[in-house]
């Protein structure tokens, strides 16, 4: 009703009088451009996500029809599942260390590489991107930190005489997190790195010439005054990728330190999800874990975006 009254106000006529038909007429081509993607997105991404959130309020074992249990899953997770709290702690610790470091690393490497002549640049991009190019390349770390004397790290340390007997890398609680962090950092020069490289290429070259006329003295000033403002959207993109990436670590943990890891030292939110989703088939519970992770990412994302906007402005 309120809207109807506004509509009749003559001053606002133009703004509110747009009917569906007029909107369509005005923006037809835009909607048509979006349509093919949006249909696929809606069916194969949006509906599954919403279904999962709905399932998080049920008890669902994949065989029987889901049973509505209200907030039980969430209450159990937060109040009674002590392993989940370990997982949250590990995940946050992991993300706080690897997220910012690898973000800066990606940016810095892309920036240095961008200074090189084209051919060298192509080779160096490949060198840094190599770890993420082959899905399972990180399994090499399993050989490096193998707990017998055949592991590269143990063989090296034994030969140097630094240790007398092989170290139990993945079997010692204290070692697990640092090793996972190292592997993740090594692995994380991926999507954001490539996006930054493409972003640097996208910067209008004439701006640099104009800048040097205007008295930009060195590369730091150039980076700060010319390049960074031009790359705002890539920086945002990289941030979102780093946040989602560093909070959703599971593969390297399961493959390297095993599942479950010693004293749950390598347990993350996603390995917890894997436990309930893929091993115990408690899908309702698994969906609740995914939903909590989703809101964590959302929250962190909003904060980081606010911070970045402040820095960029």
């Amino acid at each position: 009703m309120g809207r109807q009254q506004v509509l009749s106000k003559p001053s606002d006529n133009k703004k509110y009088k747009l009917t569906v038909k007029e909107v369509w007429k005005q923006h037809k081509e835009k909607y048509l451009l979006i349509l093919p993607f949006f249909i696929l997105f809606f069916v194969f991404t949006f509906i599954p996500v919403v279904t999962s959130i709905v399932l998080s309020f049920t008890s669902f074992n994949l065989f029987e029809f889901p049973k509505f249990v209200g907030l039980d899953n969430y209450i159990n997770l937060i109040a009674f599942d002590s392993v989940f709290l370990i997982a949250v702690k590990n995940t946050l610790l992991f993300a706080i260390v690897t997220g910012p470091i690898s973000y800066l690393l990606c940016f810095m490497l892309a920036w240095i590489i961008n200074e090189l002549p084209p051919k060298v640049r192509a080779v160096m991009t490949l060198v840094f991107y190599a770890p993420s190019i082959s899905g399972g390349a990180y399994m090499i770390w399993k050989l490096i930190f193998s707990s017998d004397a055949y592991g590269f790290a143990n063989a090296f340390l034994l030969k140097m005489g630094l240790i007398q007997s092989p170290m139990l890398w993945f079997e010692t609680k204290e070692n697990i997190m640092p090793i996972l962090i190292v592997v993740q950092l090594w692995l994380s020069i991926g999507v954001s790195f490539l996006a930054f490289i493409a972003g640097f290429q996208n910067v209008d070259k004439s701006l640099y010439e104009a800048g040097s006329v205007d008295g930009v003295k060195n590369r730091w000033q150039e980076l700060w005054f010319i390049t960074l403002p031009q790359m705002k959207s890539q920086l945002m993109f990289g941030a979102v990728m780093q946040i989602t990436g560093s909070l959703s670590v599971s593969g390297i943990s399961i493959d390297l330190v095993g599942f479950p890891s010693v004293d749950y030292a390598g347990h993350t939110i996603l390995t917890h999800l894997y436990d309930y989703g893929n091993l115990r088939y408690e899908m309702g519970y698994a969906c609740a874990i995914a939903t909590i992770l989703f809101f964590m990412m959302l929250f962190i994302n909003i904060i980081v975006q606010k911070l970045l906007r402040k820095v960029a402005a």
Partner: protein, 295 residues
Amino acid sequence: MKKLLSFLRAKWRLFKFRRKNRSLAVDLSLIIVLSGIGFVSVWPLLFIINAAFKPISEIFLFPPRLFVQNPTLNNFFDLGVIISKSNVIFARYVFNTVVITFLGTGGTVLFGSMAAFPLAKYKFPGSKLMSSTIVYSLMFNGTVTAIPNYIIMTKLHLVDTYWAIVLPVVGGTFGLYLMQNFIVQVPTELIESAKMDGYKELGIFFKIIMPLSKPAWITLIILSFQSLWGTTGGTFIYSENLKPVSYMLSQIIAGGIARTGTASAVALIMMAVPITVFVISSNVLETMATSGLKG
């Protein structure tokens, strides 16, 4: 000595080909940092390449060596023998992968960019809602959505077809989000002037947006190819003659410790293909960047 110095200086100019305001000391230290990290980074690449050519005696050598001493092609011959014994001919697996990768990558780049353009450059009813839904759905983990997805696939009779792999990839939001962040930077004046010339959104998209965001969609091709190349089909494809090549190769590796040699040959092949695509794409990118400068 003098010759060497002038040679070095000539080389140095190569590095400083772009601009004058670069100090030598910082250049040098950055190169040192770069090679340090590069050394750590390139290690697995060297390892995989070397392991593929190691004879059995060297694979289990103690202490382990990075570089191969007596290179041999035996691992590849073994792999060849296993492949030739397979029930479904190898070419079929390759064909499956090619179709899946082609459709998936093409669809992601085309549909993703098409949708990214209006969302990045215009405001219209629903645009803000769509943009935020798309970013937020990036953050929902795929493990739990796999089950609703499977149900949807069954209802649409798409299980056990290529589409079961391709459509969710194209409907994923990553590609669109990447493109959106690049298309935002296309100068609005260009779009306005094209509008003056009588172009509609579709025309602007192909005439202006796509050519100007080449670095972005080439990056997207690299990333999309890479993830599709590694896909094994999982539960969505169960017919053996529709399975992709990476599934077949992963089955070979699963043969245990006796297949260690073959496995390292497989690892090299699995890595060589995306690297080739990567190198070709980034070469295209470089030539375009330089030709763009001249034009």
